[in-house]
Point group: C2
Amino acid sequence: MMTDLLLKNVRPLGGQATDLLIRDGLIAGIGSELTAPDATPAEDGHGAILWPGLIDAHTHLDKTTWGMPWHENDREAVLRSRIDFERENRLTLDIDPHRQSLRHAIGLVAHGATHIRSHVDIDTTHGLRMMEGVQQTREKLAGIVDIQMVAFPQSGVMVMPGTVELLDEALSNGCEVLGGIDPCGIDRDPKGQLDALFVLADRHGCDVDIHLHEAGELGAFTMELIFERVRVHGMQGRFAISHAFALGMNDHARVGRLIDEIAALDIAILTTGAPSAAVPSVKQLLAAGVRVGAGCDGIRDTWGPWGQPDMIDRATVIGMKNGFRSDRDLRLALEIVSQGGADVMRLDGYGAAIGCKADFTLLDGETVAHAVVNRAPRPLVVKGGKVVARGGACVVDMP
Amino acid sequence: MMTDLLLKNVRPLGGQATDLLIRDGLIAGIGSELTAPDATPAEDGHGAILWPGLIDAHTHLDKTTWGMPWHENDREAVLRSRIDFERENRLTLDIDPHRQSLRHAIGLVAHGATHIRSHVDIDTTHGLRMMEGVQQTREKLAGIVDIQMVAFPQSGVMVMPGTVELLDEALSNGCEVLGGIDPCGIDRDPKGQLDALFVLADRHGCDVDIHLHEAGELGAFTMELIFERVRVHGMQGRFAISHAFALGMNDHARVGRLIDEIAALDIAILTTGAPSAAVPSVKQLLAAGVRVGAGCDGIRDTWGPWGQPDMIDRATVIGMKNGFRSDRDLRLALEIVSQGGADVMRLDGYGAAIGCKADFTLLDGETVAHAVVNRAPRPLVVKGGKVVARGGACVVDMP
């Protein structure tokens, strides 16, 4: 495997053009006078911006219909009915978890992603089948992109007896992180679900990343139940709340107090910039010292038609939603879909400095801000020193 | 000028594949057994969807930096300061109103637009210079795209003495529609601005299209002042409110009453789906019988970096903001950026039926919904029976 590389003429983080030397998959040197053994493969970056690998820290690789015939959706937009429709129809619709997660992940790599956190549905209808499909994809893409799996009880925990046992099994057999979903809205039993999740997290010593669509005071109530348990179980730094729509509610003081507590307990927030929902303010969270990552969420699935397997596209959605306009703000949007994800996933050796892992993408743009908005293919994506995508195409073919 | 055309194998409005015959710039026949004189030029639609020409009914052709070196923006996001920065710097920044409006309009045509309503800045610093630049573009693109101009007092009316006279002059020399802006927020004199606008509208017999960013109760108050004057001046059916953020306020009953009045006075609403603002619900407006069009607004200008010269892209922004997910909803998003604009601009002969003007675009997609989300180049754009863009490129070169 080619893990040495001399990359000429790139602009790390949008700075001055220079060269980059990679040895054994790590960034070994940055400068214009680098010396490398004659056999070292070389690439010309043509002055592109070099940025640490993009991170989709909240997605659902097992759900997309990407690359399949168009899925017609004439259903009503109710959360519970979306969940049930998908669970009941995903097999007959031929949404094969391996093939589809492979398509989704390849798309992300082609657009510069080097790390993915994917929720995988765990339910009593399909057991661990979705996890196994994504696991196959993870193995096939080893060395191309790192995929972390969250055991995600999409259909609920308490309303679907047997789910706790499946989550337990999933955490023993492939999933690194435990998921959860709307303890009030979906499970109608917040104490029941949260207690069950914390017992599982204790048993497996794993991080938790819970979907919380609950808005306003309901979501705030659930957050307070989470705070109590994070404190009691010593889960500081190991809990993440995805979506956290309650933090978008129209009560500045109330939201401020919730964020103070989130910061104090080092709970991470994952946002998708959901355009039709009230969402947390990225800047408000960062100002409080909260780790903030981002994800594409589902793309073109039975839930909805939107989305691209592209974290720059998601930076646009998040940036527009947050009212970002200045170059500084656009850079922040890009940081959220890169360093932000690394912060949430607590990745070691992430970055564009000497000693960091050689996981990065080149970006085409006059400046970092321009690269965020110009919708250009990624010239080159490198994972562990190896070229994994070039000119917008991944080295692994789409199935 | 080629205004006869036999277009084979297209799917009008996403229906069954058929052929289309154009005579003298009008749709003369739809069917599989059409006969045309031997000399009639022919095109193969390859089964693409045929859709009436897209309409950008709210844009600012004179503002974009599209095709120029990246404009770095490190300013604060305050409406008044954005206005002043642009007015004071547009010439030194070389934002030439003709060249830039040409680039913007060519981009829209390349993406399937056949009609544009552009606000053009009228102010005491630049007089009618922006209008004249867009006018040159309109003449250069005659037969390619129809451009309607709104005399737009971007910097305010009452706070910029001399502006009323310039608006008067603009309406006599090229602008078809009278604009306005935030009578409270920008002008600090709602009675003053609105009375002045209605006098001008009476004098020129023109439609009015006012920017109203004012949110919540302030915007509702301004709307009520507008209602009174529309009634007194008999402007029913000839007044449009752009943005109308007040209709996004969190008071269902209050918004409902405003919308009832808007419907009763046949006031049109133009939306951009502004991601970071509270915006009107498209469905709520349509259900009340209100005409609703849409626009890209400014793209990549000194105000902000976002946007594409592409009304399908804008349909996506509006659709996501409105929580659209089903195929039916996606079709509605496409209708807003086509028929909706025609309704607002009161265009004659618009549509895909026999007798309509042959102004349309082909769309690449399995279904209409797929065509909205798949980000494919427009295979062919036809204006008055003439091919004006092909494979995503306009027949007029970008300057």
